[in-house]
Symmetry: C2
Subunit: 352 residues, 2 copies
DNA sequence: TGTTAGCACTCCACAACATCGAGTGCTAAT
DNA sequence: ATTAGCACTCGATGTTGTGGAGTGCTAACA
């Protein structure tokens, strides 16, 4: 059996209708909904075929049909309609984002949180934003300052202006000259190095050069190591988790509790983010339908993600999590627009 | 009508039983549960009295009784049993906390998150931890560093070792000498000042002294202002929100959705934290029962909070949010122990 | 006078049952 | 190939009835 044009149209109609209502859709509905001018009986025959082909399924014998994962997949891959109006509608949220990014000060964290929130409010789905990873970035600046007689402050700036601080308690006071020497030593040796390359061998060499300042160097290196390590567990911000209650198919106790937990324990989401970052395709947009998602607790959800790249190597993820019957059109076009805005942001800034 | 000893005992028995089961408790149950050796009929009479006095109520005519807010209040105020075993049991979690605090490095944020989590896992309630506020604290260290030709890094350390950074873009490069001068100017003028006192008048004076470096001073002051402002909105960490699903009385759609939203939009919790911090009583522990809580969405919950003080003026809050029928005994003793641990932490550290 | 046994009554929870209607598959006619 | 018609299925919804837990009240008792 073939999936001819008419079957495709009917499938499309079924999915569209189901996305709107969330109810199984029957043959009579389709018979009127489409401009195919076919009777419900004909539709019924076609539907039986579509079911056999695996694109739709029946919750029970005398109910209408709902799309299967395979059906959604086909829809997402080949049937999305990029209407103009849709696009302009999508930019609604994107405009708000731009506003946020313009006022961006330097509080990356606050911006990302805000982004997640605006997206959630506008889409009525749960959202997720991962902070850009500094993977492969270079150390730009390192400094020791004396804050107190026995307290030193390590300040480390990585490319992309990620700033980290650590306090170090020293056993015996350092004089200004020593401090200056240490700073020069650190900067000449470490500046410009990708943070991943600052490893044990490097530390050993520095310790050697440091001579009597062994202990302090060791502590500073620990701080640097902490920075590197810290960036390994990705920061993820979520918003709109309560939106799941808007979709009955997700909000029974069992599922709701699992999902809420997943959103709270953000490390459960890293798998998703990682997957997105690695499996990047040409558009930078990925759609996970139902069981396709890497996170098992989301098997009844669909997830649409976009990978953005602020600067060379600074990649992050934006994700939207909702029910299978998600408004893919809107979500995808929103993410596409947002992604392109973010992608060009750095360049713009650079040339301004 | 008086609340005599027997009535108290019956009330206590009703509450205890209800805390365990969550079901309305009937006269027959109490008749056997207590060692009063009274028949169910007698209990019934007493229960009618207790209801008239407002300590208990009936969900419907032929159901048992459940405690009213007034009943819970009396229980919490006068009937808590601080068994020894209870206390030692409570310290279970506290020990984990101590562990966490010992490994504390300097990542306040991580510690607080972890604290919230451990508490949530152990108690089966939702938890909240607010970061200590720096209110009234003094500026300890301020420094400008050149990171790049046109980028300056402002590092500000406040007492209690809260560190803030801001990047400043400057129009034209500064030479080393100027930078040094600026640093001296900033430190001599600002060090030791309570951050609240760094206001417009101060800025004006500095601008005057700064002469041609007007612009940079202005920017630095903005950064300082940002630090102050930032500490106004309290940081709150929550955990175990999914625990609400363990209590049927909280987990219908309506309530669950509201609660989840409240926990996600943490600013909705600031009111609670503020209230706790201001209305501090002798024990430092506060119990809000049902409608007593400042947050309306929690009218079906009870909240127990503790105020801890790391250093002079650095106060924070720990809270446990659960159903009205919360295990007050356990929660309160856990929080008491934890609070005292935190309160003494700073002193210990200082003298070690 | 306080306590208790007994009893009629109330009301919810739960199960059994009936009903309705949307939707189907199939057949036969067009 | 399409469609009208029909018997059938099955969940959703509503009705009814029964059981049991619990009450309040009364009368008897210590």
């Amino acid at each position: 059996m073939e999936l001819d044009e008419r079957k495709r149209k009917i499938l499309q109609a079924i999915i569209r209708n189901y996305l709107e209502t969330g109810e199984p859709v029957g043959s009579r509905t389709i018979s009127k909904y489409t401009d195919l001018n076919l009777s419900s009986a004909t539709i019924r025959n076609e539907m039986a075929d579509l079911e056999e082909l695996g694109y739709i399924l029946q919750p029970h014998t005398s109910a209408g049909r709902i799309p299967s994962d395979k059906g959604y997949r086909l829809y997402v891959d080949t049937m999305l309609q990029e209407k103009e109006e849709q696009l302009s509608q999508a930019t609604q949220e994107v405009k708000e984002m731009q506003q946020i990014l313009l006022e961006k000060e330097d509080k990356m964290e606050a911006i990302l949180k805000q982004m997640a929130k605006v997206l959630a409010v506008n889409t009525n789905y749960a959202t997720l934003v991962s902070a850009p990873q500094v993977k492969g970035n270079k150390l730009k600046f390192i400094q020791l300052s004396r804050v107190d007689v026995r307290q030193l402050l390590t300040t480390i700036v990585v490319e992309g202006n990620v700033i980290k601080n650590t306090m170090i308690q020293v056993a015996e006071p350092l004089d200004d000259e020593t401090l200056l020497k240490l700073n020069i030593l650190l900067n000449t040796n470490l500046n410009g190095l990708p943070i991943e390359e600052i490893n044990l061998a490097m530390i050993a060499r520095l310790k050697h050069q440091a001579g009597i300042y062994n202990d302090i160097i060791a502590e500073v290196m620990d701080a640097v190591a902490a920075v590197i390590k810290e960036d390994e567990d990705i920061e993820i911000y979520t918003s709109g988790t309560n939106n799941i209650f808007k979709y009955p198919e997700l909000s029974d106790h069992q599922r709701a509790s699992e999902l809420i937990t997943t959103f709270e324990e953000k490390q459960l989401l890293t798998e998703l983010v990682q997957d997105t970052l690695t499996e990047e395709n040409s558009t930078g947009i990925q759609v996970y339908i139902g069981n396709e998602t890497p996170v098992k607790t989301m098997k009844d959800c669909s997830v649409v993600t976009a990978t953005y790249e602020l600067e060379e190597g600074m990649k992050g993820t934006i994700g939207i999590i909702g029910p299978r019957r998600m408004d893919y059109d809107k979500v995808i076009s929103t993410l596409k627009t947002l992604k392109s805005q973010l992608d060009t942001l750095y360049k713009k800034e650079d040339t301004q």
